[in-house]
Symmetry: D2
Subunit: 336 residues, 4 copies
């Protein structure tokens, strides 16, 4: 046990539970030794279920444990940058859920702390580890589609979160599109300009909360390619996650993921069931692959596959998109 | 006009009308100069619609026209062999609808007459000219799937014909499976043994008429491959026409053909409409390609692509299948 | 023959030949009585092939024939509006290929002449008659996807036209996207604002000719929906024509159209052949359905299904898109 | 821990390792307390990896542990029936891998011992727990396809096992088709007659070892339906596992399962990668669901979902198929 990597985890909500389970049961060479949560009962439950020996009083208690080498931060978004800074100062390696923050200044302070401490920071953009997106990335890198010209991301949730959540979410672009901005960068590199069109089409209450629920965003990439992102808070048929990249040598595209491959033909139609309903089903394996990649970068002392800079960049795009929507004009990222 | 091939057609029912239209409007270098039918009004109507100059009193009148080089026989099955013999004796080239006959002796007499007269005879197995089946044949011939091991034909009609028709049809194997037996030969060559299982599952009235409506036939080919044919008189979702050939280097298979490529995703399911409903929709282009191939073999004086022997062989398989079903044992074609 | 509609056709190039064939062979109740072309040999050839009795000296000669009720204009784009005006003044009903013109003033003059003469004018946006697009339109109209929120059109050609053509084409938006602008209007109604991003990615020579070859256009519709159009002059895998409309009740989308439905599985991959290569293959049936609809509106004295106003509107969008691209800002149609 | 179900496992080869992992990490409420194997090192390795506290000397040592309630038998096939009898006599519940045995007398003795002891016995037909097959079963049970008429199972391995294995395997029908015979029964119930055609097409060495590598089997079901099974030891494109059931109200069918849903379109073709390569990838989740079902039937004291009789029945079909192949005639199960 002495050479296993010892991990502490803060935040045992939905995504924290996923990471705790992965760390406790799916990845060899690692020990999840402590969890903590502002809701102590939640932390106790996760600890019991995953056989985690310690429920820490708070994040500081985890940081105070010298035997712990790395922390996994799954707590509320507004705690991300302070926790990153504390963990860096304590010399712990860090895995932090997305988004780091909607505040660029706070992000920059956190990244600076990480830089100073010389610890590793990986941001939880799990979709990069999805087999479909991985295959598309591979097709681009191998030149299977030649030089990329166009890219389209369809990213629609099955149903909107509660309006109470929308109100504090930072808005569609920071809360939801952030994943798609990261995917765009993952696939085609830096974005230089963005134009956002959007509206309230799903639920007027979302508009009353100051947000939109539907958007189409045009991206211009540094390499000259052009892309779009299509977002809706509500696709009644389920989680819709598709990507197409078109280039000089062809096109690569992904379809949705289904619970089975069964087709039914009747006198009415030829049909199949709905795609996997939401991110916890659709992207389950990606969370495990992602965490394994984090552990591996600690074990092998290699750079994390998703860096702090990767965490910052989509926030800049999101802020530019928000301004574009407000001012109805293309906005250069250099303006942010 | 002098160098156009002049054609007479007998039988202006459903399939005769298709061929008349193709000859009159779709194929250059040919003149449909006369039609005839036991129902004179039907012949008159087709002549008027397709601008055919002559409605002949009967088939003999067509044969008596020395300017006519070839005849297209679309009349009732029991007229096929006498008409073939008369046409051959009159020195006309012949296109005859399938099946030639259910009577092997009658077929042999007709083929002998054709042989003696030195005219061309082509049998109307239109499915050979369907783009899907053509592509499968091509894959086999090019070696794209290596050496064929297994073959499956799914061939299901959308709904059974009237029981009155069933009663005189010669039975499922001669009436319906004949196309599939031909397809099997087209794709993998000679059949040496057949085992048929079947039953009355669609409509008891079909059983009372002495026939079956559902069958699974196992074929052993001369080349060692094994195949099955799956027949039903009633697929409620429409015409089901699929083929798969599996070999040492892979597999080639065809899907059904649809009127559009549109998918609808709703809260219920992900669906498309039904496949093309029946042979007149599904195989429309094949009838045109088939007739063009007949005209071309006349123009270029080449052998017809579907010969009299090709017309005889599936009848032998059908008779073997019928005996196999009766006696519940595999039957060698050499027994017939 | 006296009650057949008599048609004259001008312009026997590629598309003129298609319409001539449809009129001569596929549509009952109509007589194509005269054709003409600046290239007399081309007109002679078409006349011979389709058994058209007269090759007129010029369009004026067709208009001078009082027995002719309607004209089909397939000549060069710059002749469209003068020919429309002449035909209207001669009291002929008119079918005119797209685009009417790239000059709004010329269009308005032509439409005014049509209005004054009280003749029918139908514009050749054939894609509206394609079974896929028809099915998508039907899904919207029947409410199968609820209220439309988002729309995406993928429209990519297999290869660019010669640069000599590009130079006089009026530019990508007027020459190629015009079809997609029409499709957008056909599906979701009036457009109020457009934002165009684009570039030269396929061939620098296109850029040197003052045009772009790749574009992504964002459309805002009067009904609040948002859409995109994706254009490329070169999809190496063939003609790429897909549409998706997403709404409150679901999504409807079309896939490409293939010459067969055959899949090949080998040790390398699971594959099918390429989609139909270009518009003459992909949209063949739509040209016939379109022309039948024109004839029917004459026979039944109903309004043409694609009006002069429908011909004008996408030109306005194209001009707005061109300005948007030049000025890199969203442009309202009211600015044009 | 006192109320957890305590399990011992014998046989830590490929499939034993899968079950050990499932029991140790994926199913709550169970303790895998001991493993054993004739290869002690293998058992030690699995115990270390899965944190199993005890490596037992042999199966008898497991049976001697009174705290153990149930055993999982993954050892060689010829040990199945003796181990079942020993375990039953020791009062342990039993999960046993398929096939129980190729010897009907041995099976009957084992089932009698289970009956006498009143313990539960579940047979490891994991495919019943696959989401695709489950969905097909559900469609049948819900009447979504009406009354079943026809069934087809495609079941092809990616490559044959070593000839040394073939020689002791009991033959294709007992070794490989056994799964498909079980699937046929799972979906459509009892089989009454079987006709098998087959040959050596993949590798002559398999023929020299006295076996075949390719087969098509026709099944007649007690309910009147007819089915086929298509087997090959070598599908070069990977594991091919598809089922179709056709009935009076429609058809339900499953496609293969792929590692991603990505399509690549290039100038050559439109393609995707190969299906999942073999049963460990394709059926992974089914093993977990299967074991969970076993544990649940212990916890809730319900009958096992796959009984000893379910383990015996496909062996009878396999023996009938073998005789059918030898004698080239349909064989009734009542003959065995």
């Amino acid at each position: 046990m002495s050479d296993k990597i010892r991990i502490g985890l803060v935040g045992t909500g939905r995504i924290g539970r996923v990471h705790a389970q992965t760390l406790a049961q799916r990845i060899p060479g690692v020990d999840l030794v402590a969890v903590t949560d502002v809701n102590d009962a939640a932390a106790q439950a996760v600890a019991a279920e995953m056989s985690v020996p310690t429920v820490a009083a708070d994040f500081a208690a985890i940081l105070a444990d010298d035997s712990i080498q790395a922390v996994v931060i799954c707590s509320a978004t507004d705690t991300h940058t302070p926790f990153i800074i504390q963990a860096a100062n304590a010399g712990k390696h860090i895995f932090c859920e997305k988004p780091i923050s909607a505040d660029l200044k706070a992000i920059d302070d956190a990244l600076a702390a990480v830089e100073r401490a010389g610890v590793k920071l990986m941001i939880g953009f799990n979709r990069r580890f999805d087999p479909n997106h991985q295959r598309i990335k591979q097709a681009i890198e191998r030149g299977e589609i030649g030089i990329p010209h166009l890219m389209h991301i369809i990213s629609r949730d099955p149903s909107p979160p509660p309006v109470s959540y929308i109100r504090v979410s930072g808005g569609l672009f920071v809360d939801m599109t952030i994943h798609d901005f990261d995917m765009a960068r993952f696939l085609l590199g830096d974005v230089v300009e963005v134009y956002a069109a959007g509206g309230v089409m799903v639920d007027p209450a979302i508009g009353e909360a100051g947000d939109i629920d539907t958007a189409v965003i045009t991206l211009k990439f540094a390499n000259g390619a052009i892309g779009t992102i299509d977002n809706s808070r509500q696709a009644v048929y389920g989680y819709d996650q598709r990507v197409e990249v078109f280039g000089s040598g062809g096109s690569v595209s992904s379809a949705n993921w289904y619970p089975d491959a069964v087709t039914l033909s009747t006198a009415d139609n030829v049909r199949r069931g709905l795609p996997l309903n939401f991110f916890m089903e659709r992207y389950t394996p990606s969370y495990q692959t992602e965490m394994a990649a984090f552990i591996r970068c600690l074990q092998e002392d290699t750079p994390p596959p998703v860096t702090g800079a990767d965490g910052r960049a989509p926030v800049v795009i999101a802020l530019a998109a928000a301004r574009s929507l407000r001012e109805n004009r293309p906005v250069k990222l250099s303006e942010i």
